[in-house]
């Protein structure tokens, strides 16, 4: 039978997102709650001063948690249900499987992205350029998280381990770094630690374009360059180094 890439991608989206959402709508509420609850807390604590930054942070967190979430989902399908073994020995390639699974994670992110977009229109004064920059940064950070999720899923041997990694990485990439607040809120000796995380650069670019921080031209270029490097390296690792099969 001739390969049908659209069907292969659709299969992953149906399995990992559509049927799960249809049969268990509670997963959607869970995925909405995390980024929105941080947004609410930061907004209240700052008496509304940081609501704009927090909306941008929630955008980043949504992409990170859904991207990293791929790790747990893949691990469950692979280790518990042995579904990935069935797919590996079918004509579907690792690449189409990954694309399908990535799209399924976007499906999970959609409700949250729609709510945040409405809030962005209400609370952020975005021009077309800013909207384009935010979109580009969110896509890059999603690719970074997905790649990390896919890469790690091929090495974890059980779902408990995967969920622990997912939770940890999500926290380390979107809660601790200056995603929901400006970098300058971190005392100086510790500020440099934040630069380990790619989300710091993503947040800096977005906060700069929306006027919450003011970065020098060179800092913006460096932030883009580092984010791009993270994206390329992790995507390469996911495609080339992941153990899709043991062959």
């Amino acid at each position: 039978m001739k390969r049908n890439i659209l069907s292969e991608v659709l299969a992953s989206v149906l399995v990992n997102a559509v049927y799960a959402m249809r049969n268990f709508p509670v997963v959607l509420i869970n995925l909405l709650l995390t980024p929105l609850s941080f947004l609410i807390v930061i907004s209240f604590v700052s008496h509304g001063a940081l609501i704009g930054v927090a909306i941008e942070g929630a955008f980043i967190m949504t992409m990170v948690s859904n991207g990293i979430g791929l790790q747990g989902d893949l691990s469950h399908l692979k280790n518990d249900l042995k579904l990935q073994d069935m797919v590996v020995s079918s004509p579907t390639s690792a690449f189409t499987y990954m694309i399908g699974m990535a799209l399924s994670e976007i499906m999970y992110a959609l409700p949250s992205l729609i709510i945040l977009s409405v809030l962005a229109v209400l609370f952020l004064n975005l021009g077309i350029l800013a909207a384009l920059v935010i979109t580009a940064v969110l896509i890059m950070i999603f690719v970074v998280s997905l790649s990390l999720g896919f890469f790690l899923s091929t090495f974890t041997s059980d779902v408990i381990q995967s969920w622990a990694f997912s939770g940890m990485l999500s926290l380390l990439l979107s809660t601790l770094p200056p995603v929901y607040y400006p970098l300058t809120y971190i005392p100086l000796p510790y500020r440099y630690i934040a630069f380990i995380s790619p989300t710091t650069y993503a947040a800096e670019i977005i906060q700069n374009i929306t006027g919450f921080v003011s970065l020098s031209y060179s800092s913006v270029i460096i932030a883009w360059a580092v984010l791009l490097a993270f994206t390329i390296v992790l995507l390469f690792a996911a495609i080339k180094r992941s153990r899709w099969t043991d062959i």
Binding site: S7, N23, S89
Partner: protein, 311 residues
């Protein structure tokens, strides 16, 4: 006709545990090939290598002249696999499970949907088509897993212990379907249910410790053993008294019964002797179970036989 050839195939995990050791197999068959062996014999490792999932440590394996490593993509067009312990996705229904697998294999959406329903009917579980897999019994879930790859119409189906966990009735249902399906497909299954291999397989391989001990039809395996009958005597002492003249190896099971594997000629003489002495016994053609024990010196599962001695 499907041809599977393995040459010096070995797999060692972590440089320590040898799962397959210089396996040389040539299967040229239609219908069902059953690979039987104890747990840890290497059955799953062999299936994983043949189904392009696992890299052997050394050696080659070919399916219909396609190298499973170098031509994995072409091999995948021919095969479909149900791994051991595969479970249908709990948040999906049987219809959705089969349909999405078919989409992965390149079917169009409507075709996949239609084929999924046809297969569920074939398996007699169409009433469960729209129930969540998580609400099905273990046996039904296993049926869905098998139905999923049967629906694919792949030329070669690999089924790793497909009926483990099924109740006897469900197991026979699956056997019936596989027997029908083998007319147009080649099925490579692993099992440690010897009656399953006897009932289904056209050819049988016996694997132990990563090595192939025997290969052929049940009749050929019986012939190669040179013993065609199994006599079971229910009294150990009486058996020894009456049959010691045979000088045969007598095997005593945990249940105290004595078993002898003998040729047809010897069987008839021994039977007459036992009847005359009034000793209770049974006589049967050698089963796959007997052949397995004869070759491996261990029963297929557990520790069924305690001692073995020649007097």
């Amino acid at each position: 006709m499907v041809e599977i050839i393995c040459k010096n195939l070995s797999k060692t995990y972590n440089n320590k545990h040898s799962a397959l050791s210089n396996l040389n197999v040539s299967i040229n068959s239609n219908g069902i090939f059953a690979l039987i062996g104890r747990n840890g014999a290497g059955k799953t490792t062999l299936i994983r290598i043949l189904s392009t999932e696992l890299m052997p440590t050394k050696g080659t394996a070919k399916i219909d002249d396609l190298d499973v490593i170098k031509q994995a993509r072409q091999v995948r067009e021919l095969i479909a696999v149900t791994p051991q312990e595969a479970r249908p996705v709990p948040w999906m229904t049987p219809k959705q499970s089969i349909m999405t697998y078919l989409l992965w294999r390149g079917f169009g959406y409507s075709e996949a949907k239609k084929k999924a329903m046809e297969t569920l009917k074939l398996f007699g579980i169409e009433k469960e088509a729209d129930r969540l897999n998580m609400k099905l019994s273990g046996g039904l879930r296993r049926k869905v897993a098998v139905a999923t790859i049967v629906a694919s119409d792949a030329k070669i189906l690999f089924l790793d212990e497909p009926t483990t966990g099924l109740d006897p009735i469900s197991r026979r249902d699956v056997w019936k379907i596989l027997s029908e399906f083998k007319k147009d497909h080649f099925i490579f299954l692993t099992t440690h249910y010897l009656e399953e291999a006897e009932a289904l397989a056209d050819n049988i391989g016996l694997l132990d410790g990563g090595k192939l001990l025997a290969l052929g039809t049940l009749a050929k395996l019986r012939r190669s053993m040179g013993k065609s009958y199994s006599i079971t005597v229910f009294d150990k002492e009486a058996a020894y008294m009456q049959l010691k003249y045979l000088g045969n190896k007598i095997t005593v099971g945990k249940d105290g019964n004595v078993q002898l594997l003998v040729s047809e000629k010897v069987a008839s003489k021994a039977a007459i002797k036992l009847v005359r002495a009034g000793v209770k016994f049974s006589i049967n053609p050698v089963s796959l179970d007997d052949i397995f024990y004869y070759l491996v010196k261990k029963p297929i599962t557990g520790e069924g036989y305690e001692e073995e001695y020649t007097k």
